[in-house]
């Protein structure tokens, strides 16, 4: 268990605000991780703008601004509030709330900075804090970067604690019993004589008094919910078909639409003929939208059929037409003209390499689709002076702003219902599908219109993980890794995604080298250089962006050097590691797997990899066997440290799920381009992992790290290099290009 930190009261703005019939409580963490005089003296009202708990005579509502895309954050947010508020969260209404600047995400902005996450020095800490403040001012409310728990765990508990103490104060006013003599349990204030007053009965009184802001968080030793195995609040709904996702919205009189966009993204249209489509059964109209055309029909199936009947003269986009040309563009970008960063430059790499036999290797990582199982969808109702949107999104504030921009409606008349998502993996950090849905619904004022992309549109119009390559050069001697030089080359994800959604931040593209420059190894001569290739098609954040490719390059090349040095892969990593949390996870995975080298018998092999991403050190060991039907992954051991674990059952699921995501794509998946278009149109050509390929998992969370971090992504990055390392141990073949199925067969 991580040590309990004392939280200075002045770190929080806590407050309450009267609402119709009741009271809303908020807490807002303004100083992280050190106090900053620039931030003091913020207006009192800002706290009241951040409601997380609303109490009225009719009931209690938790506002939980982070989107649940499957990672379980809806439950965790509710549990964080409930732990301090002493209430069964199942009795509260759980509401994602409306987009609000107050629900900004400071953690992700801070982590985009060019400092390793494990570096807690004065300069990184101060700049992170300022960046978090910028995020607040630019209303960057979004869910991503495994940041939700890190960003909100104290805020939500403070909101719950402030609400609890204020309710007790209200009960004290009513009964004359001092607040100190009152306690709370199960949504009620309890008097010394056993009398119970439901929170809802105290709503009006609590709104009328000064909120209690002098609260301290309970230590973990007193928790009754957090840290204990509990059922996700959505688990019954998700096991009975009663969970409604964005795609499941049903409205009276609703129409259904779909989109047919240029297969070459952004290429435009020279013209089209919709006569055949318009003549088909149930088709209402064909309208122009961003990137192509949309069909509006009586049901989704009619719309899908008619979309295929559209005859369109597409114009070519301005990016290279084929994967071969794109790889060439990447190779050509490894020059000073395209050099973007050198965020790691320890010792003297050039001298070290000039004095030794240089080991060199090139690695490649392909484009990948997010391919969430729920295809992209949004339902929109445009009325005379208002617009209502139902969709699964990670960026509700951006969706609201787009609605304002597209329709000219006042921001206060935009309602965004952020619904649970059937997966995302980063895809819903874009809102192209919502923009189209708004354009479509705007042609049907007064009629709710649901737009659903086909799987084929989803696969071929993703903002994919970019293709990425690296060249490693290194040297070994006396059984040690002496020099390590990695060039990492990719189009800039930061420019592409931030450019679409917010603004391009100044400075180097840290994502381009995430998972490489920021690894806590003390190699004496150690350099990582990023090269930003020219922009191609628009690209997006894919579970563990940057690191999902760089960790494969970085760890694979480290394994090659360690092998050349003739030493044990775990022992040499332990010798090189310079961070205590990271050392512990490596030691733990060794203990869990009874590590005794990579050789585990004939036709078998054992691999290891480590990555420090999203502030979480993760080590993975993988065993494989060569069978008559191909390579089989037998077992996977994962050790990680995200600090305090609030939801242990879900935490284990995130570790194994993220590793499966990393493994399945490394084994089986790529997007390739011909004539500017994605060639893999559906799951027959893009499978990820299926049940028959799933190994046995063993996981351990150490809870020793001081920082509390999220687990949606961290186990993804080390999965691919650990598997490649295991296959090398079994076969003697180094796999330097994903997907591995291009080179070996899997059972």
């Amino acid at each position: 268990m991580g040590r309990v930190r004392t939280i200075a009261r002045r770190s929080f703005l806590i407050g309450s605000a009267s609402i119709l019939g009741g009271v809303a409580f908020g807490a807002y963490f303004v100083t992280r991780p050190t106090p900053n005089p620039l931030l003091e003296g913020l207006a009192e009202g800002e706290a009241a703008l951040t409601p997380f708990v609303k109490i009225t005579p009719k009931g209690i509502t938790f506002i939980m601004p982070r989107a649940d895309v499957g990672q379980g954050i809806a439950s965790t947010q509710a549990m964080l509030i409930a732990e301090e508020l002493d209430i069964d969260p199942a009795t509260a209404t759980l509401d994602p709330g409306q987009p609000n600047q107050a629900y900004f995400n400071g953690t992700v902005a801070a982590e985009s900075l060019p400092f390793p996450a494990w570096d807690h020095g004065v300069v990184p800490s101060t700049v992170r804090e300022l960046m978090g403040h910028v995020a607040r001012l630019t209303s960057s409310q979004f869910t991503g970067g495994s940041s939700s728990v890190a960003d909100l765990h104290e805020t939500l508990r403070m909101a719950g604690a402030a609400a609890r103490e204020t309710l007790k104060a209200a009960a004290a006013v009513r009964t004359g019993v001092p607040r100190a003599d009152l306690r709370t349990e199960n949504g009620q204030v309890i008097l010394p004589d056993g009398t119970r007053i439901p929170y809802t009965d105290l709503a009006a009184q609590a709104a009328a008094i000064e909120p209690v802001t002098d609260v301290t968080l309970r230590p973990a030793s007193e928790w009754t919910r957090l840290g204990k195995p509990y059922h996700r609040l959505d688990i019954v709904a998700k096991s009975t078909g009663t969970q409604d996702y964005g795609i499941d919205v049903v409205m009276p009189g609703m129409l259904h639409a779909t989109v047919r966009a240029n297969p070459g993204r952004g290429g435009g249209m020279a013209g089209y003929n919709a006569d055949a489509a318009l003549a088909m059964q149930g088709v209402r109209s064909v309208v122009e939208v961003n990137e192509g055309l949309a069909v509006i029909a009586d049901n989704t199936w009619f719309a899908f059929q008619a979309a295929q009947a559209l005859e369109v003269d597409w114009l070519p986009p301005d990016y290279p037409a084929s994967s071969a040309e794109m790889w060439q563009a990447l190779s050509d970008a490894r020059t000073d003209d395209f050099r973007n960063s050198r965020l790691r430059d320890d010792g003297d790499v050039e001298s070290a390499l000039s004095e030794a036999t240089v080991i060199e290797a090139e690695y490649r990582s392909p484009f990948l689709a997010h391919a969430a199982l729920e295809p992209l969808s949004a339902t929109v109702l445009v009325q005379a002076e208002s617009i209502t949107i139902w969709t699964a999104t990670q960026i509700p504030a951006v969706v609201r702003d787009a609605a304002v921009e597209l329709t000219g409606v006042d921001p206060s008349r935009v309602t965004v219902h952020a619904l649970p998502a059937g997966g995302s993996f980063g895809r819903r950090l874009d809102h192209d599908y919502v923009v189209q849905a708004i354009q479509i619904a705007a042609t049907m004022p007064g009629t709710p219109t649901k737009t659903t992309w086909s799987r084929e549109e989803d696969m071929t119009h993703d903002f994919p993980r970019p293709l990425h390559m690296a060249v490693g050069r290194g040297a070994v001697g006396n059984g040690r890794v002496l020099a390590y030089d990695l060039d990492s080359i990719s189009p800039s994800l930061v420019s592409s995604w931030f450019g679409r959604i917010f603004i391009v931040p100044p400075g180097p593209d840290t994502l381009l080298v995430w998972g490489a420059f920021d690894q806590p190894y003390a190699i004496p001569n150690y350099r990582v250089t990023g090269y930003a290739a020219p922009p191609m098609m628009p690209i997006g954040s894919w579970r563990s962006p940057g690191a999902c490719s760089n960790s494969f390059f970085h760890e694979s090349f480290l394994s090659e050097l360690i092998h050349a040095a003739g030493v044990d892969p775990l022992e040499e990593r332990l010798r090189l590691i310079a961070d205590a949390d990271s050392r512990r996870v490596l030691e733990a995975v060794g203990e869990m797997s009874n590590w005794n080298g990579a050789d585990i018998g004939p036709r078998r092999g054992r691999g290891i990899a480590f990555a420090h991403t999203h502030g979480v050190p993760v080590a993975e060991v993988i065993d494989v066997t060569m069978t008559d039907r191909g390579i089989r992954i037998d077992e996977v051991w994962i050790a990680a440290d995200c600090g305090t674990v609030f939801d242990p059952v879900n935490a284990e699921a995130q570790l194994t799920g993220a590793a499966i995501f990393g493994l399945g794509h490394a084994m089986n998946c790529e997007l390739t381009y011909e004539n500017h278009a994605v060639q893999q149109t559906n799951f027959h050509a893009f499978e990820g992992m299926r049940l028959h390929q799933t190994p046995l998992f063993h996981t351990r969370l150490l809870e020793r790290a001081e920082q509390v971090r999220g687990l949606g992504e961290p186990a993804t990055a080390p999965a691919a290099p650990a598997l490649a390392d295991a296959i090398f141990a079994a076969t003697g073949q180094r796999l330097r290009e994903m997907p591995f199925s291009k080179t070996v067969d899997f059972a």
């Binding site: 078909g241 259904h256 989704t300 199936w301 969430a372 199982l373 799987r455 799951f683 299926r690 799933t694």
Partner: protein, 152 residues
């Protein structure tokens, strides 16, 4: 056309070549049946017809000849099916989008094979894609459900 779904009769006036998936979702607002791929590659649209698991995206309305069971026909939050209880106990779902199909596929498996091995489960369930990677818990929940059914 008349359909019997979860014991109730429904009349639909839709083309015979329309996939049952879209008849259920858009024609009858039974949205627990999920669209994932439309080409029988993901299993999210799985329903039972006369007790047998089928991909509703591949069954034309005109070809439906038996009684349809969706996840609601298996069990409800108030009256859970034994397989749903196992799914809840093992906390299988993450995003949950594939899980109705997974559970209906598991029900088909357990009706035919009350004591499946891991290999039996792999063979029966590998057509049901889960992008979140809940497979280890799916395996565990199928075994637990099988035990529970045998003990009934």
């Amino acid at each position: 056309m008349n359909l019997k779904i979860n014991g109730a009769k429904h009349v639909v006036d839709l083309p015979g070549d329309m996939p049952l998936l879209w008849v259920l979702r858009d024609g009858l607002n039974i949205t627990s049946v999920k669209y994932g791929c439309g080409i029988a590659q993901c299993g999210a649209c799985t329903v039972h017809i006369d007790g047998e698991a089928v991909r509703s995206c591949q069954v034309a309305l005109a070809d439906v000849s038996g009684e349809i069971t969706t996840i609601e026909g298996l069990g409800t939050p108030e009256a859970l099916h034994i397989i749903q209880t196992a799914w809840i106990d093992h906390q299988v779902a993450q995003c949950g989008y594939c899980q109705s199909g997974q559970i209906l596929q598991a029900a088909d498996l357990l009706a035919r094979n009350p004591q499946p091995t891991d290999e039996d489960i792999d063979a029966a369930m590998s057509g049901n894609l889960c992008r979140c990677g809940t497979y280890p818990r799916i395996r565990a929940a199928v075994h637990a459900a099988a035990s529970a059914i045998r003990e009934m």
